[in-house]
């Protein structure tokens, strides 16, 4: 078990403790609160906690398998996220083969480039080559109805679901002097980002009064946003020991991750409202689809990656 880095084990022990605590709180709420109007919120909370156990177990398993495990996991998530996304699009018959390329050529290729550690091509495959290929292939298909709209929708889907999400396992490519294997850096990003989501939800449920963007996301409040971002920054700072950052830098980086995550959640909500749905899918019980869970990650991961790469990789 060469991947059994002691810091990684400690971090997962922390996750295990947190999950146990959440399950206990969920159980106490279920037993203690009998008000009928609170039942659906508590039921959803417990479904979410249950799903967190499953997601953490899958993530831990793939992380311990090694880079291949993480690449397969995130590749699969990109594929499923893209499927949720295109299902919502008003696609036309002529988009079929372009979409085939997006799913079966560009998505696997993007993760393959990480596997062979070809950073230069990883960084441009989608923003350069796929961006030019998609409209060209659509033009060949010959249907010009809403052409620009259809091309942009597919480009944006590849950008969000594949390119941005692939930045998370791309952290495994980085060679950071005096740091060791970057698997724990990936765990750090996922922890800060996902805890920021959870803490925004918790603060919002406890204190939320003033809505930030009622049209886009009725559940997002200023209280949830400020409480969540600040406490996620606190957690990120306290976990500085598993990163290459000094504590004040860890604070700045985790603040950035939390803010980017918020922007991601808001943007992906705007797309859902535009398409007239509440959730992207039903795959994760209590949460919705993969994209509902990973929306914040899509925005946080690329920025986090480039901060680390610019300042810490020589």
């Amino acid at each position: 078990m060469k991947n059994l880095d002691p810091q990684l084990v400690w971090a997962f022990a922390g996750v295990l403790g947190l999950l146990t605590l959440s399950s206990l709180i969920g159980l106490i709420l279920k037993v203690a609160i009998k008000k009928p109007e609170a039942q659906s919120t508590i039921g959803n909370l417990n479904a979410r906690i249950g799903a967190w156990w499953t997601m953490s177990a899958i993530f831990a398993l793939t992380l311990f398998i090694g880079p291949t495990g993480s690449l397969v996991l995130f590749g699969l998530m990109s594929f499923l996220a893209l499927r949720e996304y295109v299902t919502l699009l008003p696609t036309r018959r002529a988009d079929h083969r372009t979409l085939f390329w997006a799913f079966f050529i560009f998505t696997p290729l993007q993760y393959f480039l990480i596997a062979i550690q070809w950073y230069g091509m990883f960084a441009i495959l989608i923003p350069v080559f796929a961006f030019l290929f998609v409209p060209a292939r659509l033009a060949v298909a010959g249907d010009t109805e809403s052409f620009l709209q259809r091309a942009s929708m597919i480009q944006w889907g590849l950008m969000i679901c594949v390119y941005c999400l692939s930045y998370t396992p791309a952290l495994l490519m980085l060679k950071i002097p005096d740091y060791g294997r970057p698997a724990k850096l990936m765990l750090y990003l996922v922890l800060v980002d996902q805890l920021s989501d959870v803490l925004q939800y918790v603060w919002g449920k406890l204190l939320g009064r003033h809505k930030i963007a009622p049209v886009v996301s009725p559940n997002k409040t200023w209280e949830g946003f400020i409480g969540g971002v600040l406490s996620a920054t606190g957690v990120g700072t306290a976990l500085w020991w598993m990163t290459p950052f000094r504590p004040p830098v860890a604070a700045l980086v985790s603040l950035t991750v939390a803010l980017m995550g918020f922007a991601g959640g808001l943007t992906m909500s705007a797309i859902k409202r535009d398409r007239g749905v509440k959730d992207y899918g039903t795959l994760i019980k209590g949460h919705g689809g993969i994209l509902d869970r990973m929306d914040s990650m899509c925005f946080a991961a690329p920025v986090f990656f480039h901060i680390v790469r610019y300042f810490y990789v020589r």
Binding site: R93, H96, F100, F103
Partner: protein
């Protein structure tokens, strides 16, 4: 009766590929002899519908498929051995006369024979695949089946998005999340005229699209 050994694997694969969410609205799986009828827009339709039935019901449910498409090579091997498909001739505009006769009464006889006393059927009364936008008017077969087998349970189903996964004329699928909705069973009323029954059956399928 047990299904083909490959049946379970094919059913799971079909559900994975189609990402199908199955809903029974005012309806539930029932082991009684039934005709499931649905809208038709993709070659995947009957595979997905068949795969979404509970295994014990699936083992006794036979899809009715077009002989001109399914009666060759590997397709035939799968259709006949795994799904136990009932292959029927259809009359298609602008096509040569089918190999076996497309005489409606003979086709009905064939279907009734395939049903026997236990088997259920999956049929697509539009007769051919549509674009997925509209449900075409129903051919008479559904009515004749009901007439020849009084009291036969008929369950409407609506398949959504399968035309986007594998549209007419494409051979490579693209993943979309699809949806299959079963509705409440209906039966032919005594003395109900053919056009009224077919319109009612079609409306039952269309209604499921909105739910």
């Amino acid at each position: 009766m047990t299904g083909h050994p490959l049946a379970g694997i094919i059913a799971v694969t079909a559900r994975l590929i189609s990402g199908v969410t199955v809903r029974w609205v005012d309806s539930e799986p029932d082991a009684r002899q039934t005709v499931y009828f649905a809208n038709h827009s993709s070659h995947l339709d009957f595979v997905v519908l068949w795969s979404s039935l509970p295994p014990e019901i699936r083992a006794r449910t036979r899809p009715v498929a077009a002989q001109d498409y399914w009666d060759k090579g590997l397709r035939r091997a799968i259709a006949v051995n795994v799904f136990r498909a009932v292959l029927v001739a259809r009359r298609t505009a602008g096509q040569e006369a089918p190999r076996s006769s497309g005489n409606p009464q003979e086709v009905i006889d064939h279907m009734l024979e395939a049903m026997g006393d236990n088997n259920s059927l999956i049929i697509f009364p539009e007769g051919t695949r549509g674009t997925g936008e509209e449900v075409a008017s129903f051919k008479s077969g559904l009515y004749y089946l009901a007439q020849r087998k009084p009291g036969l349970r008929m369950v409407p189903a609506h398949l959504n998005n399968l035309n986007r996964i594998l549209p007419k004329g494409e051979f490579l699928p693209v993943p979309f999340i699809s949806r299959l909705t079963f509705g409440p069973a209906l039966a032919l009323e005594p003395g109900e005229p053919k056009p009224a029954f077919l319109a009612r059956a079609r409306a039952a399928v269309c209604r499921l699209r909105e739910i």
